[in-house]
């Protein structure tokens, strides 16, 4: 749930920020294994 007190544009930016950060986290986590397999 994104903060409802901010505007639509900010909510969209927050959604993108979270999406990219989650992608980075998953990439690093899986990369640690893939490097060794």
């Amino acid at each position: 749930m994104i903060n409802r007190e901010v505007g639509r544009r900010t909510r969209r930016n927050i959604r993108w920020t979270v999406f990219l950060l989650v992608l980075v986290v998953l990439g690093i986590y899986l990369g640690v294994f893939l490097d060794r397999l």
Partner: protein, 524 residues
């Protein structure tokens, strides 16, 4: 910087009692929960430290058996790092970042709640391992294989608990980054942000980068133990040293995760009590970013004695020494901020000043440890223990205490007892040096760390260190009493509790209303 604010009264339809705390999405509630949880863990980890110091009071085995001693050294570290220091900073971030950037709350309030409640869950699992058959983890907080794989029933529980704590940290970091990047008040450019916000932004990126690395390493431990893989087993074609590389690729940036927000706190408090703007704001920002970058390329200085090519030793030695440059910039800027300032010495300033002196001692012993040939002598001795406790106790913990004293009036609406605060500071600063300074001598004389018994030549300084330990531990009870009294009542705090305090958080009343900045402030 000027601002206009608009506050609303507490919403009548919000739940009360325990349910309020369970389901709250308010950044101030969640910040308070983080801070109180951190205090509880600080006391639990402190009790474990006192078990260690009681055993080491005299040579010989007298208080606990060696296996339990090893559990205490391991759990003390895990509790203090993941339970006390990191949640304290996250609590401060929750409370202060929205107030400092003029945002109504964090970007993801429900995830914020979830991030917090994972912590008691994770620690319940971790601490419960002490009561399992075979006891808790005893191989050190670094969890090196193959030793860690000899842990009994507790092993999968420890791995699961650390995954949970890591997920909590990652979610907290995502929230901090999303809030700072997207919810700053109009006019607050990045280079107008308070230093505490800057240091937290950089810390959050560090966490995003390295917590998944730790998770990967310990997942591999789990699969080596239960699923037939051989990532770290030489017999199966793996390499136990690989674990150390992966662990310290997480572990060294972790050290900066524990200290960068402290730099932000000190950069906030010193200007307030010197009544001067911070000297060299932009150089502080660039120094913080430089330290964060360098933290990724120095990990193998923890492994000089494991064996590595000469070129590797030289690279990691010089890269480590480079960190002294941006750190020196910071110390210079703090001193320059105080230069010819109208200084007063209330408790937050005293802790901040002690930080500047004592953290620098920890920095210097770190430089000594960075010298590869010297490290062959110091490695795994009490010199290392002295070094990182100067960095983490007189560094991180003192900064957290300074922050608590500085912002308590804003959180509670009451001024704390300055008399008790001064007692707390002076007893802490005396006993912490009695506790940790002799450990330099013990280490240089060759006393190994993580050992419950020692040669009689180390007896005197161990006794002194233990006296310091108990003194420091009991001095913290003054803080608990002061905190209780401050929450219950006391002299009413003004909106701007400190004469020299600057920033948006001082524009709202004390205590800060439940909802702030529903209308964004205007930054000019």
């Amino acid at each position: 910087m000027t601002a206009t604010t608009q506050d609303h009264a507490h919403h009548a339809d919000e739940p009360t009692g325990f349910k309020r705390w369970l389901v709250t999405t308010n950044h101030k509630d969640i910040g308070s929960m983080y801070l109180l949880f951190s205090l509880a863990m600080f006391l639990v980890g402190g009790a474990m430290a006192l078990v260690i110091r009681a055993e080491l009071f005299q040579p010989g085995l007298q208080v606990v058996d060696p296996y339990f001693f090893n559990q205490m050294t391991t759990m003390h570290a895990l509790v203090m790092i993941f339970g006390a220091v990191m949640p304290a900073f996250t609590g401060l971030a929750n409370w202060m970042i929205p107030l400092m950037v003029g945002a109504p709350d964090m970007a993801l309030p429900r995830m914020n709640n979830w991030s917090f409640w994972l912590l008691p869950f994770g620690f319940a699992i971790l601490l419960s391992t002490l009561f399992m058959p075979g006891g808790g983890p005893a191989g050190g907080w670094t969890m090196y294989p193959p030793l860690m794989l000899q842990t009994g029933t507790a092993f999968p529980f420890v791995i699961f608990a650390i995954h949970v704590l890591g997920i909590s940290s990652i979610m907290g970091s995502i929230n901090v980054i999303a809030t700072i990047l997207n919810m700053r008040a109009p006019g607050m450019t990045l280079m107008k942000m308070p230093l505490f916000v800057w240091t937290w932004l950089i810390t959050a990126y560090l966490m995003i980068a390295v917590m998944p690395v730790l998770a990967g390493a310990i997942t591999m431990l789990l699969t080596d133990q239960y699923f037939g893989t051989s990532f770290f087993s030489a017999a199966g074609g793996g390499d136990p040293v690989l674990y150390q590389h992966i662990f310290w690729f997480f572990g060294h940036p972790e050290v900066y995760i524990l200290i960068l927000p402290a730099f932000g706190i000190i950069s906030t408090i010193i200007p307030a009590f010197a009544r001067k703007p911070l000297f060299g704001y932009s150089s502080m920002v660039y120094a913080t970013a430089s330290i964060a970058f360098l933290s990724f390329i120095v990990w193998a200085h923890h492994m000089f004695t494991v064996g590595m090519p000469l070129a590797g030793q030289l690279f990691f030695m010089y890269a480590t020494m480079l960190i002294a440059v941006p750190t020196g910039v910071k110390v210079f800027n703090w001193v320059a901020t105080m230069w010819r300032g109208a200084m007063t010495f209330e408790t937050p300033m005293l802790f901040a000043l002690a930080f500047v002196f004592l953290f620098t001692i920890g920095g210097f012993s770190g430089l000594m440890l960075a010298i590869a040939p010297a490290d062959f002598q110091y490695h795994d001795t009490y010199f290392v223990v002295a070094h990182f406790h100067y960095v983490l106790v007189t560094g991180a913990v003192f900064a957290i205490l300074a922050a608590a004293y500085y912002w308590l009036p804003k959180w509670t609406g009451h001024m704390y007892s300055e008399r008790l605060g001064q007692w707390h500071f002076w007893l802490s600063v005396i006993f912490v040096n009695v506790l940790f300074f002799p450990q330099h001598f013990l280490g240089l004389a060759g006393m190994p760390r993580r050992i419950p018994d020692y040669s009689v030549q180390f007896a005197d300084w161990n006794m002194v260190s233990s006296i310091g330990g108990f003194g420091f531990g009991f001095a913290q009870l003054i803080f608990v009493w002061l905190l209780y009294k401050c929450i219950r009542g006391g002299e009413k705090a003004e909106a701007r509790a400190w004469e020299g305090a600057e920033g948006l958080e001082w524009e709202v009343p004390s205590p800060a209303p439940h909802h702030t900045f529903d209308t964004p402030p205007v930054i000019r």
